[in-house]
Symmetry: none
Subunit: 225 residues, 2 copies
DNA sequence: CTCAGTATTTACTTTTATCGCACAAAATGT
DNA sequence: ACATTTTGTGCGATAAAAGTAAATACTGAG
Protein backbone atom coordinates (compact mmCIF):
# COMPACT_ATOMS: atom_id res chain seq x y z
CA UNK A 1 0.00 0.00 0.00
CA UNK A 2 1.31 3.39 -0.98
CA UNK A 3 2.41 5.66 1.82
CA UNK A 4 3.75 9.18 1.71
CA UNK A 5 7.34 9.66 2.79
CA UNK A 6 7.02 13.21 4.03
CA UNK A 7 3.91 12.55 6.07
CA UNK A 8 5.41 9.39 7.46
CA UNK A 9 8.50 11.24 8.59
CA UNK A 10 6.37 13.91 10.20
CA UNK A 11 4.56 11.30 12.22
CA UNK A 12 7.85 9.68 13.20
CA UNK A 13 9.02 13.08 14.34
CA UNK A 14 5.94 13.42 16.53
CA UNK A 15 6.56 10.06 18.10
CA UNK A 16 10.21 10.79 18.69
CA UNK A 17 9.29 14.06 20.32
CA UNK A 18 6.62 12.38 22.40
CA UNK A 19 9.04 9.72 23.58
CA UNK A 20 11.38 12.17 25.27
CA UNK A 21 10.19 13.61 28.54
CA UNK A 22 11.82 16.94 27.97
CA UNK A 23 11.76 17.24 24.23
CA UNK A 24 14.50 17.10 21.62
CA UNK A 25 16.61 19.57 19.73
CA UNK A 26 16.27 19.79 15.97
CA UNK A 27 19.69 18.27 15.48
CA UNK A 28 18.80 15.23 17.55
CA UNK A 29 15.51 14.89 15.76
CA UNK A 30 17.29 14.94 12.41
CA UNK A 31 19.65 12.25 13.56
CA UNK A 32 16.88 10.03 14.91
CA UNK A 33 14.92 10.41 11.70
CA UNK A 34 18.01 9.74 9.65
CA UNK A 35 17.54 12.88 7.60
CA UNK A 36 19.38 16.12 7.00
CA UNK A 37 18.90 18.86 9.57
CA UNK A 38 17.26 21.08 6.99
CA UNK A 39 14.46 18.53 6.60
CA UNK A 40 14.01 18.32 10.33
CA UNK A 41 13.62 22.09 10.47
CA UNK A 42 10.92 22.00 7.82
CA UNK A 43 9.10 19.17 9.51
CA UNK A 44 9.29 20.99 12.81
CA UNK A 45 8.07 24.21 11.23
CA UNK A 46 5.08 22.42 9.74
CA UNK A 47 4.16 20.62 12.94
CA UNK A 48 4.58 23.79 14.92
CA UNK A 49 2.37 25.74 12.55
CA UNK A 50 -0.41 23.32 13.34
CA UNK A 51 0.30 23.36 17.07
CA UNK A 52 1.12 19.66 17.21
CA UNK A 53 4.42 20.66 18.67
CA UNK A 54 5.76 23.81 20.23
CA UNK A 55 9.17 25.00 21.20
CA UNK A 56 10.62 25.81 24.56
CA UNK A 57 12.58 28.97 25.14
CA UNK A 58 15.71 26.90 24.52
CA UNK A 59 14.43 25.82 21.13
CA UNK A 60 13.70 22.28 22.15
CA UNK A 61 10.73 20.58 20.54
CA UNK A 62 7.89 19.38 22.73
CA UNK A 63 4.36 18.26 22.06
CA UNK A 64 1.81 21.00 21.58
CA UNK A 65 -1.80 21.31 22.53
CA UNK A 66 -2.83 20.18 19.07
CA UNK A 67 -2.32 16.57 20.07
CA UNK A 68 -4.74 17.09 22.92
CA UNK A 69 -7.33 18.63 20.65
CA UNK A 70 -7.13 15.50 18.55
CA UNK A 71 -7.14 13.11 21.45
CA UNK A 72 -10.22 14.59 23.04
CA UNK A 73 -12.16 13.51 19.96
CA UNK A 74 -11.01 9.93 20.19
CA UNK A 75 -13.40 8.96 22.99
CA UNK A 76 -16.52 10.45 21.39
CA UNK A 77 -15.72 8.82 18.06
CA UNK A 78 -15.14 5.45 19.61
CA UNK A 79 -18.41 5.79 21.48
CA UNK A 80 -20.32 6.40 18.27
CA UNK A 81 -18.69 3.45 16.56
CA UNK A 82 -19.27 1.27 19.58
CA UNK A 83 -22.92 2.11 20.15
CA UNK A 84 -24.46 -0.24 17.57
CA UNK A 85 -22.09 -3.01 18.62
CA UNK A 86 -23.05 -2.54 22.25
CA UNK A 87 -26.76 -2.42 21.44
CA UNK A 88 -26.38 -5.69 19.62
CA UNK A 89 -24.54 -7.22 22.55
CA UNK A 90 -27.23 -5.99 24.93
CA UNK A 91 -29.98 -7.49 22.83
CA UNK A 92 -28.31 -10.85 22.38
CA UNK A 93 -27.51 -11.27 26.07
CA UNK A 94 -30.60 -9.50 27.40
CA UNK A 95 -28.26 -7.59 29.67
CA UNK A 96 -26.88 -4.07 29.97
CA UNK A 97 -23.74 -3.78 27.84
CA UNK A 98 -20.92 -1.34 28.50
CA UNK A 99 -17.45 -0.24 27.53
CA UNK A 100 -15.19 0.89 30.34
CA UNK A 101 -11.79 2.53 30.27
CA UNK A 102 -9.04 2.72 32.84
CA UNK A 103 -8.57 6.14 34.33
CA UNK A 104 -5.83 6.12 36.91
CA UNK A 105 -6.80 3.77 39.71
CA UNK A 106 -10.37 3.84 38.59
CA UNK A 107 -12.48 2.43 35.86
CA UNK A 108 -15.02 4.62 34.09
CA UNK A 109 -18.00 3.74 31.92
CA UNK A 110 -17.42 5.18 28.46
CA UNK A 111 -20.51 3.91 26.71
CA UNK A 112 -23.59 1.92 27.74
CA UNK A 113 -26.47 0.18 25.97
CA UNK A 114 -29.49 -1.29 27.71
CA UNK A 115 -31.54 -4.19 26.34
CA UNK A 116 -34.89 -3.06 24.99
CA UNK A 117 -36.87 -5.92 26.44
CA UNK A 118 -37.11 -7.57 29.82
CA UNK A 119 -39.03 -6.56 32.87
CA UNK A 120 -36.22 -5.00 34.85
CA UNK A 121 -32.83 -3.81 33.69
CA UNK A 122 -29.66 -2.98 35.47
CA UNK A 123 -28.81 0.62 34.83
CA UNK A 124 -25.25 1.84 34.39
CA UNK A 125 -24.55 5.51 34.02
CA UNK A 126 -22.02 6.70 31.49
CA UNK A 127 -19.16 8.35 33.29
CA UNK A 128 -19.69 6.53 36.56
CA UNK A 129 -16.50 5.29 38.18
CA UNK A 130 -15.37 2.58 40.55
CA UNK A 131 -12.06 1.14 41.73
CA UNK A 132 -10.30 -0.69 38.96
CA UNK A 133 -9.68 -3.80 41.03
CA UNK A 134 -13.35 -4.42 41.65
CA UNK A 135 -16.10 -5.35 39.24
CA UNK A 136 -15.87 -7.28 36.01
CA UNK A 137 -14.88 -4.30 33.87
CA UNK A 138 -11.90 -3.34 35.99
CA UNK A 139 -10.71 -6.91 36.49
CA UNK A 140 -10.83 -7.47 32.75
CA UNK A 141 -8.70 -4.40 32.14
CA UNK A 142 -6.16 -5.57 34.71
CA UNK A 143 -6.16 -8.98 33.07
CA UNK A 144 -5.29 -7.30 29.78
CA UNK A 145 -2.17 -5.80 31.28
CA UNK A 146 1.03 -7.73 31.47
CA UNK A 147 1.31 -10.05 34.44
CA UNK A 148 2.28 -8.55 37.75
CA UNK A 149 3.38 -10.39 40.91
CA UNK A 150 0.55 -8.91 42.93
CA UNK A 151 -2.27 -9.75 40.55
CA UNK A 152 -5.29 -10.96 42.47
CA UNK A 153 -6.66 -14.45 41.88
CA UNK A 154 -9.59 -12.92 40.06
CA UNK A 155 -7.23 -11.21 37.62
CA UNK A 156 -5.21 -14.39 37.07
CA UNK A 157 -8.37 -16.39 36.50
CA UNK A 158 -9.66 -13.74 34.13
CA UNK A 159 -6.44 -13.75 32.17
CA UNK A 160 -6.65 -17.50 31.83
CA UNK A 161 -10.25 -17.53 30.65
CA UNK A 162 -10.11 -14.43 28.49
CA UNK A 163 -12.96 -12.85 30.45
CA UNK A 164 -13.85 -11.96 34.02
CA UNK A 165 -16.96 -12.78 36.02
CA UNK A 166 -17.92 -11.01 39.23
CA UNK A 167 -20.95 -11.40 41.44
CA UNK A 168 -22.20 -8.64 43.68
CA UNK A 169 -18.88 -6.83 43.92
CA UNK A 170 -20.21 -3.44 43.01
CA UNK A 171 -23.87 -4.05 43.68
CA UNK A 172 -25.44 -6.95 45.56
CA UNK A 173 -27.46 -9.09 43.20
CA UNK A 174 -25.63 -7.93 40.07
CA UNK A 175 -23.53 -10.23 37.94
CA UNK A 176 -20.94 -8.84 35.52
CA UNK A 177 -18.97 -10.39 32.67
CA UNK A 178 -16.25 -8.48 30.85
CA UNK A 179 -13.32 -8.95 28.48
CA UNK A 180 -10.40 -6.67 27.69
CA UNK A 181 -10.22 -4.87 24.36
CA UNK A 182 -6.78 -5.76 23.08
CA UNK A 183 -5.54 -4.16 19.86
CA UNK A 184 -2.94 -6.46 18.32
CA UNK A 185 -3.79 -8.95 21.05
CA UNK A 186 -1.86 -6.74 23.43
CA UNK A 187 -2.80 -3.88 25.63
CA UNK A 188 -1.71 -0.52 24.37
CA UNK A 189 -0.61 1.56 27.32
CA UNK A 190 -2.60 4.57 26.28
CA UNK A 191 -5.85 2.72 25.72
CA UNK A 192 -6.93 0.29 28.37
CA UNK A 193 -10.53 -0.71 27.98
CA UNK A 194 -12.93 -3.58 28.40
CA UNK A 195 -16.36 -4.48 27.15
CA UNK A 196 -18.92 -6.43 29.12
CA UNK A 197 -22.45 -6.93 30.33
CA UNK A 198 -24.09 -6.64 33.69
CA UNK A 199 -27.41 -8.12 34.76
CA UNK A 200 -29.12 -9.73 37.70
CA UNK A 201 -28.34 -13.12 38.99
CA UNK A 202 -30.26 -14.88 36.27
CA UNK A 203 -27.61 -13.91 33.69
CA UNK A 204 -26.57 -16.85 31.55
CA UNK A 205 -22.85 -16.50 32.06
CA UNK A 206 -21.85 -19.10 29.48
CA UNK A 207 -23.75 -17.43 26.69
CA UNK A 208 -22.76 -13.97 27.82
CA UNK A 209 -19.06 -14.73 28.02
CA UNK A 210 -18.97 -16.02 24.47
CA UNK A 211 -20.77 -12.94 23.21
CA UNK A 212 -18.62 -10.58 25.25
CA UNK A 213 -15.35 -12.11 24.07
CA UNK A 214 -16.49 -11.93 20.46
CA UNK A 215 -17.46 -8.33 20.97
CA UNK A 216 -14.10 -7.49 22.50
CA UNK A 217 -12.42 -8.93 19.45
CA UNK A 218 -14.63 -6.93 17.12
CA UNK A 219 -13.95 -3.70 18.96
CA UNK A 220 -10.23 -4.37 19.02
CA UNK A 221 -10.24 -4.43 15.24
CA UNK A 222 -11.19 -0.76 15.20
CA UNK A 223 -8.25 0.10 17.32
CA UNK A 224 -5.78 -2.12 15.50
CA UNK A 225 -2.67 -0.78 13.92
CA UNK B 1 8.86 29.87 7.11
CA UNK B 2 9.05 26.80 4.96
CA UNK B 3 6.38 24.20 5.55
CA UNK B 4 5.91 20.86 3.90
CA UNK B 5 2.81 20.49 1.79
CA UNK B 6 2.37 16.77 2.19
CA UNK B 7 2.78 16.81 5.94
CA UNK B 8 0.53 19.83 6.20
CA UNK B 9 -2.20 18.05 4.27
CA UNK B 10 -1.82 15.03 6.49
CA UNK B 11 -2.34 17.15 9.56
CA UNK B 12 -5.31 18.85 7.95
CA UNK B 13 -6.71 15.40 7.28
CA UNK B 14 -6.31 14.49 10.93
CA UNK B 15 -8.09 17.63 12.02
CA UNK B 16 -10.89 17.11 9.53
CA UNK B 17 -11.33 13.56 10.73
CA UNK B 18 -11.24 14.67 14.34
CA UNK B 19 -13.80 17.39 13.72
CA UNK B 20 -16.49 14.99 12.60
CA UNK B 21 -18.06 13.09 15.40
CA UNK B 22 -18.77 10.06 13.28
CA UNK B 23 -15.78 10.18 10.98
CA UNK B 24 -15.57 10.92 7.27
CA UNK B 25 -15.45 8.94 4.08
CA UNK B 26 -12.42 9.20 1.83
CA UNK B 27 -14.39 11.08 -0.82
CA UNK B 28 -15.43 13.74 1.68
CA UNK B 29 -11.93 13.98 3.02
CA UNK B 30 -10.58 14.51 -0.48
CA UNK B 31 -13.12 17.23 -1.10
CA UNK B 32 -12.40 19.01 2.17
CA UNK B 33 -8.69 18.90 1.51
CA UNK B 34 -9.20 20.05 -2.02
CA UNK B 35 -7.22 17.17 -3.47
CA UNK B 36 -7.88 14.21 -5.70
CA UNK B 37 -9.34 11.11 -4.09
CA UNK B 38 -6.25 9.10 -4.94
CA UNK B 39 -4.21 11.48 -2.79
CA UNK B 40 -6.67 11.21 0.04
CA UNK B 41 -6.29 7.45 -0.10
CA UNK B 42 -2.53 7.72 0.18
CA UNK B 43 -2.77 10.15 3.07
CA UNK B 44 -5.25 7.89 4.82
CA UNK B 45 -3.04 4.86 4.22
CA UNK B 46 -0.08 6.63 5.80
CA UNK B 47 -2.00 7.84 8.81
CA UNK B 48 -3.55 4.44 9.27
CA UNK B 49 -0.20 2.71 9.07
CA UNK B 50 0.89 4.77 12.06
CA UNK B 51 -2.38 4.17 13.88
CA UNK B 52 -3.29 7.84 13.97
CA UNK B 53 -6.52 6.90 12.29
CA UNK B 54 -8.42 3.70 11.75
CA UNK B 55 -11.35 2.68 9.65
CA UNK B 56 -14.81 1.55 10.60
CA UNK B 57 -16.50 -1.42 9.00
CA UNK B 58 -18.16 1.01 6.62
CA UNK B 59 -14.80 2.38 5.54
CA UNK B 60 -15.21 5.67 7.36
CA UNK B 61 -12.09 7.23 8.83
CA UNK B 62 -11.93 7.85 12.55
CA UNK B 63 -9.12 8.71 14.91
CA UNK B 64 -6.89 5.87 16.05
CA UNK B 65 -5.09 5.11 19.28
CA UNK B 66 -1.94 6.75 17.98
CA UNK B 67 -3.30 10.16 18.86
CA UNK B 68 -3.86 8.93 22.40
CA UNK B 69 -0.34 7.65 22.68
CA UNK B 70 0.88 11.10 21.77
CA UNK B 71 -1.48 12.94 24.04
CA UNK B 72 -0.57 10.68 26.92
CA UNK B 73 2.88 12.18 26.85
CA UNK B 74 1.59 15.69 27.12
CA UNK B 75 2.14 16.35 30.77
CA UNK B 76 1.83 12.72 31.80
CA UNK B 77 1.16 13.13 35.48
CA UNK B 78 -0.67 16.37 35.28
CA UNK B 79 -3.70 15.50 33.26
CA UNK B 80 -4.61 12.45 35.29
CA UNK B 81 -4.11 14.33 38.49
CA UNK B 82 -5.77 17.47 37.24
CA UNK B 83 -9.25 16.25 36.53
CA UNK B 84 -10.37 15.34 40.08
CA UNK B 85 -8.67 18.43 41.45
CA UNK B 86 -10.40 20.56 38.87
CA UNK B 87 -13.73 18.90 39.56
CA UNK B 88 -13.21 19.61 43.21
CA UNK B 89 -12.34 23.20 42.47
CA UNK B 90 -15.39 23.50 40.24
CA UNK B 91 -17.64 22.12 42.93
CA UNK B 92 -16.24 24.25 45.72
CA UNK B 93 -16.45 27.46 43.71
CA UNK B 94 -19.61 26.54 41.77
CA UNK B 95 -17.76 27.68 38.69
CA UNK B 96 -16.16 26.13 35.62
CA UNK B 97 -12.57 25.23 36.46
CA UNK B 98 -9.79 24.97 33.91
CA UNK B 99 -6.10 24.50 33.34
CA UNK B 100 -4.65 26.54 30.53
CA UNK B 101 -1.25 26.36 28.91
CA UNK B 102 0.80 28.82 26.93
CA UNK B 103 1.24 27.96 23.28
CA UNK B 104 3.27 30.61 21.56
CA UNK B 105 1.42 33.91 21.71
CA UNK B 106 -1.76 32.14 22.66
CA UNK B 107 -3.28 30.46 25.64
CA UNK B 108 -5.10 27.14 25.25
CA UNK B 109 -7.47 25.26 27.53
CA UNK B 110 -5.82 22.00 28.53
CA UNK B 111 -8.40 20.58 30.85
CA UNK B 112 -11.84 21.70 32.01
CA UNK B 113 -14.32 20.68 34.69
CA UNK B 114 -17.81 22.00 35.04
CA UNK B 115 -19.69 22.15 38.34
CA UNK B 116 -22.38 19.48 38.59
CA UNK B 117 -24.94 21.73 40.20
CA UNK B 118 -26.23 25.18 39.50
CA UNK B 119 -28.74 26.35 36.96
CA UNK B 120 -26.41 27.68 34.31
CA UNK B 121 -22.76 27.00 33.78
CA UNK B 122 -20.14 28.72 31.74
CA UNK B 123 -18.81 26.34 29.12
CA UNK B 124 -15.15 26.29 28.13
CA UNK B 125 -14.03 24.00 25.35
CA UNK B 126 -10.84 22.04 25.74
CA UNK B 127 -8.40 23.15 23.07
CA UNK B 128 -9.95 26.57 22.57
CA UNK B 129 -7.45 29.38 22.29
CA UNK B 130 -7.21 33.08 22.87
CA UNK B 131 -4.43 35.69 22.99
CA UNK B 132 -2.22 35.16 26.01
CA UNK B 133 -2.44 38.78 27.13
CA UNK B 134 -6.18 38.68 27.60
CA UNK B 135 -8.30 36.73 30.07
CA UNK B 136 -7.44 35.58 33.56
CA UNK B 137 -5.70 32.38 32.43
CA UNK B 138 -3.28 34.14 30.11
CA UNK B 139 -2.55 36.98 32.48
CA UNK B 140 -1.78 34.48 35.22
CA UNK B 141 0.66 32.69 32.94
CA UNK B 142 2.40 35.94 32.05
CA UNK B 143 2.55 36.77 35.74
CA UNK B 144 4.32 33.47 36.32
CA UNK B 145 7.11 34.40 33.94
CA UNK B 146 10.02 36.46 35.03
CA UNK B 147 9.39 40.18 35.00
CA UNK B 148 9.64 41.99 31.72
CA UNK B 149 9.83 45.74 31.12
CA UNK B 150 6.69 45.73 28.98
CA UNK B 151 4.44 43.81 31.36
CA UNK B 152 0.96 45.27 31.46
CA UNK B 153 -0.52 46.63 34.67
CA UNK B 154 -2.80 43.61 34.89
CA UNK B 155 0.20 41.31 34.79
CA UNK B 156 2.05 43.31 37.43
CA UNK B 157 -0.99 43.32 39.66
CA UNK B 158 -1.50 39.63 39.15
CA UNK B 159 2.11 38.92 40.03
CA UNK B 160 1.74 40.93 43.21
CA UNK B 161 -1.47 39.17 44.29
CA UNK B 162 -0.57 35.67 43.14
CA UNK B 163 -3.66 35.49 40.99
CA UNK B 164 -5.39 37.41 38.23
CA UNK B 165 -8.97 38.60 37.95
CA UNK B 166 -10.57 39.66 34.71
CA UNK B 167 -14.10 40.75 33.92
CA UNK B 168 -15.60 40.40 30.49
CA UNK B 169 -12.30 40.37 28.61
CA UNK B 170 -13.03 37.28 26.61
CA UNK B 171 -16.77 37.16 27.02
CA UNK B 172 -19.06 39.90 28.30
CA UNK B 173 -20.60 38.90 31.59
CA UNK B 174 -17.94 36.35 32.45
CA UNK B 175 -15.57 36.73 35.36
CA UNK B 176 -12.33 34.78 35.52
CA UNK B 177 -9.83 34.11 38.29
CA UNK B 178 -6.58 32.26 37.64
CA UNK B 179 -3.19 31.52 39.14
CA UNK B 180 0.00 30.24 37.50
CA UNK B 181 1.17 26.69 38.10
CA UNK B 182 4.75 27.10 39.30
CA UNK B 183 6.75 23.94 39.92
CA UNK B 184 9.56 24.71 42.35
CA UNK B 185 8.02 28.16 42.71
CA UNK B 186 9.36 28.97 39.28
CA UNK B 187 7.94 28.68 35.82
CA UNK B 188 9.38 25.74 33.97
CA UNK B 189 10.12 26.75 30.42
CA UNK B 190 8.57 23.67 28.89
CA UNK B 191 5.36 23.93 30.85
CA UNK B 192 3.69 27.28 31.28
CA UNK B 193 0.25 26.80 32.70
CA UNK B 194 -2.34 28.30 34.93
CA UNK B 195 -5.37 27.03 36.76
CA UNK B 196 -8.50 29.02 37.35
CA UNK B 197 -12.24 29.31 37.31
CA UNK B 198 -14.67 31.21 35.14
CA UNK B 199 -18.27 32.01 35.96
CA UNK B 200 -20.83 34.72 35.55
CA UNK B 201 -20.76 37.97 37.39
CA UNK B 202 -22.04 36.50 40.64
CA UNK B 203 -18.72 34.70 41.20
CA UNK B 204 -17.43 35.20 44.72
CA UNK B 205 -13.96 36.38 43.80
CA UNK B 206 -12.56 36.31 47.32
CA UNK B 207 -13.50 32.70 47.92
CA UNK B 208 -12.54 31.68 44.40
CA UNK B 209 -9.11 33.28 44.51
CA UNK B 210 -8.21 31.43 47.71
CA UNK B 211 -9.34 28.14 46.22
CA UNK B 212 -7.60 28.77 42.92
CA UNK B 213 -4.29 29.68 44.54
CA UNK B 214 -4.43 26.58 46.72
CA UNK B 215 -5.22 24.50 43.67
CA UNK B 216 -2.30 25.96 41.74
CA UNK B 217 0.01 25.02 44.58
CA UNK B 218 -1.39 21.52 44.70
CA UNK B 219 -0.99 21.04 40.95
CA UNK B 220 2.52 22.44 41.02
CA UNK B 221 3.55 19.73 43.42
CA UNK B 222 2.64 17.10 40.85
CA UNK B 223 4.67 18.78 38.16
CA UNK B 224 7.75 18.96 40.35
CA UNK B 225 10.54 16.69 39.34
C1' DC C 1 -26.81 -14.60 -10.61
C1' DT C 2 -26.00 -10.62 -13.19
C1' DC C 3 -25.38 -6.12 -13.50
C1' DA C 4 -24.95 -1.16 -12.37
C1' DG C 5 -22.85 1.77 -9.52
C1' DT C 6 -19.47 2.80 -6.11
C1' DA C 7 -15.26 2.25 -3.60
C1' DT C 8 -10.49 1.20 -3.71
C1' DT C 9 -6.24 0.18 -5.69
C1' DT C 10 -2.87 0.21 -9.41
C1' DA C 11 -0.08 1.78 -13.41
C1' DC C 12 1.99 5.35 -15.50
C1' DT C 13 3.28 10.27 -16.96
C1' DT C 14 3.98 14.88 -15.58
C1' DT C 15 4.99 18.22 -12.44
C1' DT C 16 6.69 20.12 -8.48
C1' DA C 17 7.58 19.71 -3.75
C1' DT C 18 11.21 17.84 -1.30
C1' DC C 19 15.95 16.90 -0.61
C1' DG C 20 20.40 17.96 0.78
C1' DC C 21 24.37 20.66 -0.24
C1' DA C 22 26.22 24.85 0.78
C1' DC C 23 26.09 29.05 2.82
C1' DA C 24 24.35 32.89 6.23
C1' DA C 25 23.34 34.19 10.88
C1' DA C 26 23.31 33.81 15.56
C1' DA C 27 24.86 32.03 19.69
C1' DT C 28 28.47 30.25 22.44
C1' DG C 29 32.84 29.58 24.05
C1' DT C 30 37.95 30.87 24.40
C1' DA D 1 38.12 39.66 19.14
C1' DC D 2 38.20 35.27 16.98
C1' DA D 3 37.11 30.53 16.56
C1' DT D 4 33.55 27.17 16.92
C1' DT D 5 29.26 25.29 17.45
C1' DT D 6 24.47 25.70 16.69
C1' DT D 7 20.55 27.32 14.28
C1' DG D 8 18.36 28.64 10.28
C1' DT D 9 17.81 29.49 4.91
C1' DG D 10 18.39 29.75 -0.66
C1' DC D 11 18.71 26.99 -4.62
C1' DG D 12 19.28 23.64 -8.40
C1' DA D 13 18.77 18.43 -9.13
C1' DT D 14 15.89 14.87 -8.55
C1' DA D 15 13.16 11.71 -6.20
C1' DA D 16 8.60 11.95 -4.60
C1' DA D 17 4.10 13.22 -4.97
C1' DA D 18 0.30 14.82 -8.03
C1' DG D 19 -2.79 13.79 -11.48
C1' DT D 20 -4.96 11.07 -14.88
C1' DA D 21 -6.99 7.06 -16.18
C1' DA D 22 -7.94 2.54 -16.11
C1' DA D 23 -8.20 -1.99 -13.58
C1' DT D 24 -10.06 -4.40 -9.85
C1' DA D 25 -12.87 -5.32 -5.74
C1' DC D 26 -17.14 -4.58 -3.49
C1' DT D 27 -22.31 -3.54 -2.85
C1' DG D 28 -26.74 -4.03 -3.14
C1' DA D 29 -30.81 -4.20 -6.46
C1' DG D 30 -33.46 -6.69 -9.32
Amino acid sequence: MATLQTLDRGISALQIIAARRDGVGVATLAEELGVDRAIAYRIAATLEERALISRTAGGRLILGVGVLELATQFGPQLRIIAQPILSDLARRTSATAFISVASGEECAALSVAEPDEGLLRVGYRVGSRHPIDRGAAGIAILAGRKELPDDSDAVKESRRLGFSVTRGELQPGAVGVASPILPDGRQVASFEASVGVVAMEDLDVDTASVAVVACAKELASFVNR
